[in-house]
Amino acid sequence: MDRQESGRKPFRWHILVFLLPATSVYTLVMIYPLAETLRLSLFREVDNSTVFVGLANFADLFFDSRWSDQFWNALWNNIYFFIVNMLVQNPIGIALAALLSIPRLRGRSFYRTAIFLPTLLSFVIVGFGWKLILSPLWGVAPTLLDFVGLKFLFAPWLGKEAYALTTVALVSVWQFIGLPMILIYAALLSIPEELMEAAECDGVTGAAQFWKIKLPLILPTIGIISILTFVGNFNAFDLIYTMQGALAGPNFSTDLLGTLLYRTFFGHQLQLGDPNMGATVATVMFLIILSGVALYLFVIQRRITRYQM
């Protein structure tokens, strides 16, 4: 009998107890607000009372031109913002990491720190700093271009519809270039020396070594960076807000989903905040990010070959 009792496993309460603090905090600050946002998006305020309207808010957002013009504009801008970030940030990040991992490089830790530093700065500092640099009145950009005789290339980029979004996207790239660089640099360092020696024995040297051996080995890291960039870009708000204001001028050309959400939810100047429509925009953003991450996890990540090192 004694043996039987000790054989039956007692319920392991301590697991629950240890999980409880983290779960409750997470539920309180993440899951509950998320659920509440999803709920809010299904309601609407009519004559000072809240009524259930199903998906009507979403229909308005997608198809009623009072909302949809702004929404599709913001979504397209956001996609463009993401594309610029991906196309510029990742190749440069990889190149920088490759340069940093050259064994003979001097002052490596200085470069590493200097390039990574902007990532640690607050958006406000980066935003205002670049706004000043690019200012046609007091900025150093026109002066510097003048020094090299290229003054004619200068334009008030942040004020022109055609350039503003690209400019802001490049500032964002400048700020976050350190992230892919440091992650890829770490991945490059973890490639064992023997592998490279073996490659040399097989006659793979120089640039071919990078393309044929190192790049395939760091592909999973590049995947992770892409998904981080995706999530970051579709949540982006701070940089636009500090550089172009909540109206994301000129003429909404730098409006992202984040700034649209801000204006809708909190209101702006005479526009009163609309929590329900705001929650609708937030829900759409959530779904976009969720589907992007799901696509990566279930489709792309499974196809990336991982090598045992």
Partner: protein
């Protein structure tokens, strides 16, 4: 090692207990001492903290022993959101600084603001002054008007003398003066940028516009649906704005509001399309003599109209615990004494009550004389017309900036504004 941590832990807890006890004791002592009623003012004017604390509050407290006032401002951009949250949670102060029009009207309708109809002194305000804080039928007023701001142009007197131009009064003179300044080449003719967009609408369109739509007449006709934004009186100001482009500084497209202010106060620009709220800042920053002129009229002798826009008021928390004390304070805000202190400590914010207030600042005095010369109106987009989506005020910002930049023609801009307004506003459909 375990023992040490344990000991440190005990000491730490003891420390917290002692602090908590001390704090409780201090609080207890404070509440024993203060039997007075304390009123807290919610405000977005954190720039005015110093003036409230050193001038306005002492003046009131000297006359009303037993009432203490605490001025507790929040950052302007966060004010509306923070106030709403506080009101819903029941932690807002007794007195609430009111934004004009719908933001405050909504608070009143939700029962957060009390009516101030019976506050002594309310009879000193004209209906236009009260319009920003009254129900649509004007029956109930829920905030005591404090101040308005007047639009016009501030100019650099020395620059004008140097170039040899006079302050213009008509549209033709205005552009002639700008041409001459531009030719001279020493000054940027006009300091304004379109980066922040609101300047284009507020200091551009709403500044010169009333002369074309005839102030209140046009504004009310628009609200009643008798005029359209595509009618000439509303498009004409855009045609004039479109000409401004040539007189703004290089790269004005990316010039922000502080950039424009600095450009002017550093003496690099001759004219600044202004609101009177700039006066106190400019007095400190600029080391040249400042002058002001009215928005130019079309032909000499025309009636002039100015935008004398109601901007700030003070209301009473409907759920406040000290309603009587709050009423006492509000009635003092309606008095001549408050008007005099406020107007002179904040030149450029003009009292709305009918008291005869003497202004010491010459520039502010210049602005306020316009009230006697011209017809006053408020910004056309503020009352009722910005209630829906798309919001007329915000779309006017974007349209005005586009017109000045030249990326949209005046007619197209007016057309898109009209379409936006008509999409939700019945009288315009």
């Amino acid at each position: 090692m375990d023992k040490n941590t344990c000991k440190a832990g005990t000491r730490f807890t003891a420390g917290i207990a002692a602090t908590a006890f001390g704090a409780a004791f201090a609080l207890g002592a404070a509440s024993v001492k203060a039997e007075d009623v304390t009123l807290t003012i919610e405000s977005w004017r954190n720039d005015d903290l110093e003036i409230w604390n050193s001038k306005i509050i002492p003046a009131f407290e000297a006359q009303n022993p037993g009432i203490k006032i605490v001025f507790a401002p929040t950052a302007p951009a966060e004010y509306n959101a923070a106030l709403n949250t506080k009101l819903q949670a029941g932690t807002a102060g007794d007195l609430i600084t009111c934004r004009p029009f719908d933001a405050s009207l909504q608070l009143f309708e939700k029962g957060h603001l009390a009516s101030v109809n019976d506050v002594p002194g309310m009879e000193n305000f004209s209906p236009v002054a009260k319009s920003g804080w009254s129900t649509d039928d004007a029956a109930t007023t829920f905030c005591v008007p404090m101040a308005s701001v007047i639009h016009g142009f501030i100019y650099n007197k020395e620059a004008f003398k140097e170039v040899g131009v006079e302050a213009p009064t008509t549209e033709a003179e205005f552009f002639a003066a700008l041409d001459k300044i531009k030719e001279d080449g020493n000054y940027v003719p006009m300091a304004m940028g379109t980066a922040d967009q609101w300047e284009a609408a507020t200091m551009g369109y709403q500044n010169i516009g009333p002369n074309y739509w005839k102030g209140e007449e046009g504004r009310l006709a628009l609200i009643e649906g008798k005029q359209r934004l595509t009618d000439d009186p509303w498009v004409e100001p855009y045609r004039v704005l479109a000409k401004w482009k040539d007189y703004l500084g290089d790269g004005f497209e990316a010039q922000s509001y502080p950039d424009s202010q600095n450009l002017f106060t550093l003496g690099r620009a001759a004219v600044y399309p202004a609101g009177s709220w700039e006066i106190s800042g400019f007095n400190v920053q600029a080391d040249f003599e400042l002058g002001a002129f009215l928005p130019p009229v079309k032909t000499a002798g025309d009636t002039c109209y100015i935008s004398d826009h109601v901007d700030i008021a003070l209301g009473m928390n409907a759920k406040g615990k000290n309603a009587d004390a709050a009423k006492t304070f509000l009635s003092w805000v309606a008095s001549a004494e408050f008007a005099e202190i406020y107007a002179n400590s904040l030149p450029g914010f003009f009292p709305l009550a009918s008291h005869d207030v003497k202004l010491e600042d010459p520039l502010a005095q210049e602005f306020v004389t316009w009230r006697a010369k011209c017809e006053s109106t408020i910004r056309s987009t503020y009352q009722i017309l910005s209630r829906g989506t798309p919001n007329l005020e915000n779309t006017t910002w974007v349209a005005s900036a586009n017109v000045i930049k030249g990326s949209e023609s005046p007619e197209d801009a007016a057309k898109s504004l009209q379409e936006g307004l008509a999409s939700w506003y019945k009288p315009q459909q």
